[in-house]
Structures are given as structure tokens and as C-alpha cells.
């Protein structure tokens, strides 16, 4: 018992010395030059420099409900009914549109097949309107995100642009006559044409993925555009072959707010 007490006392002494020594080292008390010089050296240690930039608080992506993703076709591809090479063929996708721009598609889903290859479901610019298909990821380009959404109301004859779900633009429009109706459904803006020579289409035209179901023999496939006009007095009204017409000032204003890839809902 006495031996144990002595051992404990010795251990305590060693520990106390160790703590004192460490404290002395950390505080500079053990410096041979003396306390005064050590304190002086401590005093001249510079403070860390301030940062040149302020890193803001990291934030999440937020509500993804209003984000749409589009991409372009990098190499000709077959769109299929399911994410499998053997699935039924829905459409053939080329790299270019009839206007010579990149062929853009809206992404609506993705899946990996049994061999680990990624397939992407895209909205197709084909008839019947609303068709989707699966294409191999490797045939597509970079993904781009948009937060805008254009809604065309055929009853009220209006076009409304939403950003993050909030209205930022509204204008009266002309739509197709009864025998050439503007198709209803979910589409997207495919390209942007400008500086062409045609007063009929006004100063600017957006191509969409929507196609006329009645004018199937129209040049270049009968795609529905959103464009200006040389007859603004007809707007709003049911006056076109299926295209969505706007006053020239309105289409130019829309151009500043919208980008290719923006989803378009015609209802």
C-alpha cells in the first residue's frame, strides 16, 4: 500500500513537470534569452493577413421546380421508345435544324441500362406533337439550364413569360385560324433567327419544337414559330397559319428575357 502511494506520488511529480515544461515551451518561458526578449519577439509576430475576398455562405440550389435542362445533338442519333438499343425507333435526330442551327432538345429524364450506359429522355421535334424518346448520352452535348417558361394561352390570346415561376412579360398574340390551329402541348424554343430579310416575320423569330398537324407539307416541316409581324393591326386574333405572332416591340422585348431551350406550353 505504501509502495503504491509512493509510485502514485512519483507519477504525479513527473506529470506536473511535463505540464510545466510544455507550458513553459508554449509560452516562451523556457527561452534562454530570458522572459523580456521572448515577450518582445511575441509582440512582433504579425497578425495573419486579411483575405482579399469574402467567401459568401454556401447556399443550396433552391427550388428545382422551375429549372429546365436542354442540350444539343452532337451526332446523329436514333431516339427510341425505351432506354435500350433494341427498343422501337421513335425518330431520327440530326445535328442541325433546317435553319442551320444546332438541333436542341429538352431533357426530361435519364436512366442507365444494364451495361451502365446512360440514356437521356428528350422531347422530340416531331409529329405527333408531345413525342419523347431515349437517346444515348454520348450523342448529346453540354447540358444548359434555364429558369424561364413561356405560356401561350389560345383562349385569352396572350403569351406570358415566367422566370422562377413569376411573371416577367405578357403580350397579346395572334394564333392559328380554326383550319390551321396552333397546336396545344408542351414544347421548347429551338432557335433564334434575326437580321433576315422578311417583313412578314418582323425583326426576329424564335423556332419552336411544335409542328402544325395540318400543314405537314409546309417547307422545312411546318414548324411553329414565335415572331414579329408586318400587320400589327390584326393582333390579338386568330389570324395565322399556326405561328404565334407578336407586335415587333413585344418580340424584341421578349428577346431580351428569353433564351433558346426555354420550355413553351401552349394551352
Amino acid at each position: 500500500m505504501r509502495r503504491k502511494t509512493r509510485a502514485a506520488a512519483a507519477l504525479g511529480l513527473v506529470a506536473a513537470c511535463a505540464v510545466a515544461g510544455l507550458g513553459s515551451l508554449l509560452l516562451g518561458g523556457g527561452d534562454r534569452d530570458g522572459d523580456g526578449q521572448a515577450a518582445a519577439r511575441r509582440a512582433v509576430l504579425p497578425a495573419p493577413p486579411r483575405l482579399a475576398l469574402d467567401v459568401p455562405t454556401p447556399k443550396g440550389l433552391g427550388n428545382a421546380r422551375h429549372v429546365a435542362v436542354w442540350t444539343s445533338v452532337l451526332r446523329p442519333a436514333t431516339a427510341r421508345a425505351h432506354p435500350q438499343s433494341s427498343a422501337r425507333r421513335r425518330a431520327r435526330l440530326s445535328r442541325r435544324t433546317p435553319e442551320g442551327t444546332a438541333n436542341v432538345v429538352l431533357v426530361t429524364g435519364r436512366e442507365s441500362d444494364a451495361r451502365g450506359r446512360v440514356w437521356v429522355r428528350v422531347r422530340l421535334p416531331v409529329l405527333p406533337n408531345g413525342t419523347t424518346g431515349w437517346v444515348p448520352r454520348r450523342t448529346l452535348g453540354a447540358y444548359q439550364a434555364v429558369r424561364t417558361h413561356l405560356v401561350v394561352d389560345r383562349r385569352r390570346l396572350t403569351a406570358t413569360l415566367l422566370r422562377d415561376g413569376r411573371r416577367i412579360f405578357r403580350a397579346g398574340v395572334g394564333i392559328g385560324r380554326a383550319r390551321w390551329p396552333t397546336p396545344r402541348g408542351r414544347f421548347y424554343i429551338r432557335n433564334r433567327l434575326t437580321r433576315y430579310r422578311s417583313a412578314t416575320y418582323g425583326p426576329l423569330a424564335f423556332g419552336t419544337s411544335a409542328r402544325s398537324a395540318t400543314l405537314t407539307d409546309w417547307p422545312a416541316g411546318g414548324f411553329v414559330g414565335i415572331h414579329g409581324t408586318d400587320q400589327p393591326g390584326l393582333l390579338p386574333g386568330r389570324v395565322s397559319h399556326g405561328c404565334i405572332r407578336m407586335r415587333n416591340a413585344d418580340i424584341l422585348r421578349l428577346d431580351r428575357l428569353v433564351t433558346v431551350g426555354t420550355p413553351v406550353t401552349i394551352r
Binding site: 493577413p49 459568401p56 443550396g60 442551327t101 435519364r110 411553329v224 405561328c243
Partner: protein, 221 residues
Amino acid sequence: MDFLLDDLDIDGALREAGEHAGISRATFLGGTVAGAVAAFAIAPPAEAARNPDIAVLNFALVLEYLQSSFYTEAERSKAVRGKAEDAAKRLGSVERAHVTAFKDLLGKKAIKRPAFNFRGTTEAERPFLKTAVALEDLAVAAYKGQAPRLRDKTVLAAAVAIHSVEARHAAWMRFLFGVQPAVNAFDDAVSKPEVRRVVGATRFVVARPRTSSRRRPRFTG
């Protein structure tokens, strides 16, 4: 010590992406990549001569664009789940904060965000983790390579502050991928040309598609 891509490219994730895009292993490991990454050609020579820090900061900004776009796309794809998804969300938010900070600091001298095609690596878990490890290791090595070139101490302090964060990211992604987070006593730096070559070889940085034209419309009218 020579930097080798294989040192950085855990399990060949970047090389796989490059090979997927039709780039040979020989080209990837040793050759030059035609049409190198324009985004890394950063500040004009006159500007860089006046203030070399601008070129380094823009170089860092491109790497932050690359990382933030990668994690953002992975989160949006919803193809990455569980712990990898949690990491993608967290790291994405941090990399986006880095981008904001660099853009604020550089103001009008900040280069614009390039377009990125991650070629499916954000859309399946294993390729995502492999590529994340490679990108984080690349960022850590790149910051280390550029930090000694910085003249302004406050910029250097900022770079060091971000460098340690990137190192944590690298360790986290290595852990999730199942490789050793800490292997060496000392890490090598990577030069700017080497980073440019590695990133260029992946073909992750791409030109934006041409979506405008002057052709006369032929829509239904």
C-alpha cells in the same frame, strides 16, 4: 518531380472520359490536345503583365466554374444518391460560393463561365465519384502550383484558405470512392500548362452550340 496524369487520375476517370470522346490513351498521357481549352487562355498579356495576380485568379475561377458546374449538374441529374448525393450538394454549394467570391473580386476582369459537357459522369454514381476525386485532386494541386506566384498577400491568404477547403473535399470524395485520403507526406504541385492539358484532354470544356442564325424563317407564319 514530373507530374503524371496517372498520379492524379484515380482509376483513370478523366482518361476514360477522354477516351469516350475518342482521345487515345497516348494522347491523353503525353500528347498535346489540339484546340486546347480556350477558357484557360485567360487574361490578355498586357493585363497579366500589369498584374500577374489577375491571371492566377482567373485560372482559379475556371477551376471553380468546372467544379461548381460538375456538382450542380450531378445534383440536378438526381442520378447520384445517398452519401454521394449529400456530398454533391454540399460541395456544389461551396464551389458556387467560391465562384461568387472570385467573380466579385475580379469584377469586369472575370472571365465568363465556359460550357461544360461532363459526358455522363454526373449521371451515374461510380463515374461521378471517380471524376470528383480527380477534379478535387487537380484543384488542390493547381492551387498549390499557383500560390507561390501570387504577389498580393491578401490574395495569397485567400488562395490558401480555399486550398485547404479543396483538400478537405478531395479527402471526402476519396473516402466515398474507397481510396486512401492521405497517402503522401508531401504533395506535388501542378503547373498551369499541365492543368490545361489535363482538363483539355477530358473535353469537358466545350464550345457553346450555335443557336442563332440569319436565315430567313420558314415557319408556318
